[in-house]
């Protein structure tokens, strides 16, 4: 974990939840290391600090094993965004999200943003099988998957058990469960993703969409935390940035 070396305080927290073997660690690994490798079952949890512009975002990867479910609410405490992950080839993994994991998110921030992500789509849809090095635009990510899956030459190796409509229905139930305002919450079309950690399909789009959405919350948090403690490091940085201004 070389990136965690810089012990900067994270500005905001994101948590990846989901049943075991849906590919949470692989998703994070694909996004941070741009590659796919076989991962071992995560023990407890791990986190990664992502430098996004001037902000530090900590992304927590949790363990999917039931044994560790109890820790989930602690990881979620103070989270600004939660990625609920399921496996498109496994209907049970979607059911688990609602039955086990949703209640763990009670400790997250009240304005927490949710994303429902179906991973391993490369196994069921041929369009996700191409190794994507370049980013897929976020507009395409949401709706395009379900209707267009009939069009391309279908070579599914495994039957797709979860369709995107099901994920969107779950998302809408989450909004209701959280008693969030349906008008202000992001739409299901925008927040339901189908990804492949193996090929990288839609992965960047997922994380970057979330980063964009949590940005107001970061700013709000920083404004609130006009803390009584003076951060010397920060001040120096600011001063360094300002210097050229006053000189010119």
């Amino acid at each position: 974990m070389p990136a965690a070396r810089k012990m900067r305080k994270p500005d905001i927290k994101m948590v990846i939840l989901g049943d075991m073997n849906v590919g949470k660690t692989s998703l994070l690994h694909r996004y941070t290391e741009r590659s796919f490798k076989d991962t071992l079952s995560t023990v407890g949890g791990a986190f990664f600090l992502k430098q996004w512009g001037p902000y530090n975002i900590s992304i927590w990867d949790t363990a999917g094993r039931e044994q560790f479910h109890g820790l989930g609410s602690m990881y979620c405490r103070g989270a600004s965004a939660i990625i609920l992950t399921y496996d498109v080839t496994n209907w049970q993994s979607l059911v688990q999200l609602e039955e086990c994991f949703l209640s763990l998110t009670d400790s997250a921030n009240s304005d927490c943003i949710f994303a429902v992500v179906g991973n391993k789509v490369d196994l069921t849809d041929s369009y996700a099988q191409v190794e994507t090095s370049k980013d897929v635009g976020p507009e395409e990510s949401g709706i395009s998957a379900a209707p267009s899956c009939a069009a391309p030459p279908h070579t599914p190796t495994i039957h797709k058990q979860v369709h995107q409509e099901d994920a969107m229905a779950l998302y809408n139930r989450i909004i209701v469960y959280k008693a969030l305002n349906e008008g202000t919450s992001p739409l299901a079309e925008k927040m339901c993703f189908e990804t492949s950690a193996k090929t990288g399909y839609n992965v960047d789009s997922l994380f970057e969409t979330l980063f964009e959405l949590v940005l107001p919350s970061i700013i709000q948090k920083q404004a609130r935390a006009k803390s009584p403690t003076v951060c010397l490091e920060e001040y120096e940085e600011k001063a360094r940035k300002r210097k050229p201004d006053c000189c010119t």
Partner: protein
């Protein structure tokens, strides 16, 4: 994966405690400075003095001396011991009761205040909220009560401050400030005993596994979690570090930054808090207790006590580096920053960064290596010294000791792989360039620049010349043989020049131009040398090599003189006379040089102009006498001559006239020369009658009158007209030419005079353009002058008006008006004006002047004003 972070050292051996008594076991320990207290299951407290010493092998060892042992008089085990060193009290939990004993004598201290009975666990607040240094804060859990009691311990009493209710009976606890971290039978929770606010952490089955709650720092706790995890939790109930993975059977945990040490049935495991990785495993059977006391990790089996001695950080880091685990080494170094004094840390950190850089360099990971070298402020010579022969012989550099890397030199590193060597060299080039452009090369620029020069020379890099042409500190003595070895003679010349040895530079270049040495850097080296000489301030050198250059190519060689910059300074300037004298034997160069003096620099010296004109004339005459000369050669030679003759007025006309007199061909030139002598009739005669070129004649008139007034011009044209009309020449008057002349230049002629001259017989139609033109010109001249006259008058009037305006109004004098001085009226218009325009009699003014002789001088200015 493993690092040796700790070493297990025996502190108290079995014999010192219970000897051969099998059933007696250690129940609890407390360590306070050098004092070690051990509580046993047979109600004894042992007091040892623990002395640290270093063995001859440099290892840390402990020797313990039993000071005292005390039986507490109960048949129960001593469950817990905590020292309150400021009070010199030991807090003892035995038989579910808390008692105080003296730290030195181990005698019970009669304590007043609250009696604490039925206690199952307690803990001391290491981050106390009260300001009193002579009291310890304690949180106590009692059996049968769903509550935690907050007490203060004083020298002679225990005082209960508060009781906070808990949802269930706590099993164990820890406290920091106002935050209690509790292990309840089914879960962990945080409870703020000041506000009562609580925060559930996560579920945990205490029946199944013994819970662990360990304060590890300000508002942060370490908890045993399901699945053998060590979870970190802050007082807000947030996990700020990823968990560490212990075994399911973990018994105890301690923190010794940056490590978390855990004890299970067979092993002691060491995890890093920085990256959560397992770093070390020590086999330890029958482990019973693991606790840290002020940074000292103490481990006990049922029979003996050990200390886990952390190995010096530096050694750990060096071990990691030796295993090429760069990232881990840096993580450890940076993680340990807060435990090391700042200045020491900086030195250590720099060194580790440098070592890390060299490891990555050895793996050819150049970008990472560069970054670490830069951050570690590496003395760049360390890197240069890896490359054989790059550092100058004179360099005082010696490699740092202990060495930063394991390589003898580049060949050792590359193991004979030339591709690797080349890649390393390319890296060094890019690195040295960056070093040069930053400030970090200060103090050893010579070494850096010389090394860079050598690298460039070796691979034939184009930047070699840029380096030498710009500001550099390359050492001549060291670089010259290297450049010669690689046939970079041109570059060597540049280096000589940079070091002020122009003669050596020229010598080198001349040998290359002559083909004695081979260096194809510059195809135009000869031109370069000429250019160099033209700027060279050492005149001896210029003279020395001028001959060589001129012999090689006069046209280019002469640029030594012609391209020489002209400055006001007299030093380093060449005297043109000397140059001319020198160039006598190089005819072509001489002409070019004179052209430079006369035509470009426009020197106004008769000598040069005449010399050039004579050379031109000689050339033309030479060509004329040679039948093989082409028309083009001749016309271009004449063109040059003609232009000089026309445009210069400094050459000796008579001399040239004499030279050209014989030639029957050079009529134009002769006419021009006559024109220079103001002998216009001769000139016109040649042009009209000998050359028979009326256009040339007209051009002559225009040229010859160029710098004169219109009258002179008119005179010349009249002269030409009369030449045309002259009937006394063979062939008679040239009527057609005369008519053409008149018609073309109607405005130049005085029409009246012309009409008188012209023969009566000429028809009007013939002269129509002339007459029209002349008439038009005259009328135009008249009207123009009328307009000018009108304008001049208007201007005059305007000035008149202005003058009156500035003078002021009229002075009124009438018969009724009195003089200011005598008050008589004026009889005649003559008056004198006082300043301000008051009129007085002239005689009054005269009278006044006479009356006041003193005033006269003072008023002199005023009186002289009168008009």
């Amino acid at each position: 994966m493993s690092v040796k972070a700790f070493e297990l050292v025996s502190a108290v051996e079995r014999e010192q405690l219970m000897g051969e008594k099998v059933r007696i076991t250690i129940e609890c320990i407390e360590c306070c400075g050098q004092h070690l207290y051990v509580g046993t299951n047979d109600c004894f407290i042992y007091h040892f003095l623990l002395e640290e010493r270093t063995t001859t092998k440099g290892r840390l060892a402990y020797s313990s001396q039993k000071l005292l042992q005390k039986y507490l008089g109960l048949k129960k085990p001593v469950a817990e011991l905590k020292a309150a060193s400021a009070l010199e009290r030991l807090i003892v939990l035995c038989d579910a009761t808390i008692a105080l004993v003296d730290m030195v004598t181990l005698e019970p201290v009669p304590s007043g205040g609250a009696k604490l009975k039925g206690v199952t666990a307690f803990c001391i607040n290491e981050n106390p909220v009260t300001a009193d240094p002579f009291c310890a804060e304690m949180a106590v859990v009692s059996a049968r009560r769903r509550a935690v009691q907050i007490c203060t311990v004083h020298e002679d009493r225990v005082q209960m401050l508060k009781e906070v209710a808990t949802p269930e009976q706590p099993c164990t606890l820890s406290v920091d400030g106002y935050f209690l971290c509790l292990a309840l039978p089914t879960q962990y929770m945080i409870l703020n005993y000041s506000t009562g606010a609580s925060q559930d952490l996560f579920p945990y089955d205490s029946e199944e596994r013994k819970p662990i709650v360990k304060r590890i720092g300000r508002e942060e706790f370490l908890l045993a979690a399901p699945g053998g995890l060590g979870m970190f939790a802050s007082a807000e109930g947030i996990s700020q570090r990823a968990p560490v993975s212990w075994s399911e059977s973990v018994i105890g945990a301690a923190v010794c930054f940056p490590y978390v040490v855990a004890l299970d049935e067979g092993f002691v495991t060491v995890h890093s808090m920085l990256d959560q990785q397992l770093k070390q495993t020590l086999s330890f059977r029958e482990g019973h207790i693991l606790q840290d006391f002020e940074g000292k990790v103490v481990l006990a089996s049922t029979k003996a006590v050990y200390v886990l001695v952390p190995l010096p950080l530096e050694q750990q880091i060096q071990d990691l580096l030796a295993g090429h685990r760069v990232e881990e080494a840096l993580t450890l170094t940076e993680g340990a920053q807060r435990n090391i004094p700042k200045d020491k840390f900086q030195i250590l950190h720099k060194r580790i960064l440098q070592q890390a850089g060299f490891i990555q360099f050895g793996q050819l990971q150049f970008s990472e290596a560069k970054e670490h070298f830069r951050k570690g402020q590496l003395d760049v010579r360390e890197l240069i010294s890896l490359y054989p022969l790059l550092l100058p012989a004179s360099s005082s550099f010696t490699r740092c000791h202990p060495p930063l890397h394991e390589f003898a030199d580049l060949n050792h590193l590359a193991q004979g792989d030339q591709e690797k060597v080349q890649r390393c060299k390319r890296f060094l080039i890019s690195y040295l360039r960056e070093v040069r452009s930053s400030e970090s090369a200060n103090g050893f620029r010579e070494d850096v620049d010389t090394a860079l020069l050598k690298l460039y020379a070796e691979i034939g890099h184009e930047s070699l010349l840029d380096l030498l042409a710009s500001d550099n500190a390359c050492l001549l003595a060291d670089s010259a043989p290297w450049l010669e070895k690689h046939n970079r003679y041109f570059a060597l010349g540049l280096l000589y020049h940079y070091n002020g040895q122009d003669s050596s530079a020229l010598q080198m270049w001349v040998r290359v131009v002559n083909g004695d040495l081979q260096d194809s850097t510059r195809a135009d080296l000869f031109e370069y040398v000429v250019d160099f000489l033209s700027f060279c301030s050492n005149l001896d050198l210029v003279w020395k090599y001028a001959d060589w250059a001129l012999q090689k190519d006069q046209k280019i060689g002469v640029q030594i003189f012609t391209k020489r910059p002209i400055s006001k300074e007299t030093t380093g300037q060449l005297n043109p006379d000397e140059v001319i004298k020198y160039l006598e034997k190089h005819h072509q160069a001489l002409v070019l040089y004179l052209e430079h003096l006369v035509l470009e620099r426009r020197l106004q010296k008769e000598k040069y102009h005449t010399h050039l004109a004579v050379l031109y004339a000689d050339r033309v005459l030479g060509l004329l006498s040679r039948p093989s000369a082409t028309v083009e050669q001749l016309s271009s030679a004449r063109e040059k001559l003609q232009r000089l003759l026309r445009e210069s007025s400094l050459y000796r006309v008579q001399l040239l006239l004499g030279k050209l007199q014989e030639s029957e061909v050079l009529l134009t030139e002769r006419a021009t020369l006559h024109g220079k002598l103001e002998e216009h009739d001769k000139a016109l005669h040649i042009l009209v009658h000998q050359l028979k070129n009326s256009t040339a004649a007209e051009d002559y008139c225009t040229w010859a009158s160029e710098d004169h007034d219109p009258a002179h011009r008119q005179k010349l044209f009249h002269q030409l007209l009369s030449v045309y009309l002259d009937p006394d020449v063979p062939g008679g008057a040239q009527t057609m030419e005369a008519v053409d002349l008149l018609n073309r230049h109607a405005d130049v002629f005085d029409a009246v005079q012309v009409l008188e001259l012209l023969p009566e017989a000429w028809s009007l139609t013939l002269l129509r353009p002339f007459l029209c033109g002349a008439l038009r010109a005259n009328i135009h001249a008249r009207r123009t002058s009328q307009v000018a006259l009108g304008l001049a008058r208007a201007e005059n009037l305007q000035l008149h008006h202005d003058r009156l305006k500035y003078r002021g109004g009229p002075v009124f004098v009438s018969e009724k008006r009195g003089c200011q001085l005598c008050h008589n009226t004026f009889r005649e218009p003559d008056c004198v004006c006082l300043p301000g325009g008051t009129p007085i009699h002239t005689h009054c003014a005269a009278q006044r002047l006479q009356d006041s002789p003193t005033k006269r001088r003072l008023d002199h200015g005023h009186t002289s004003n009168h008009t």
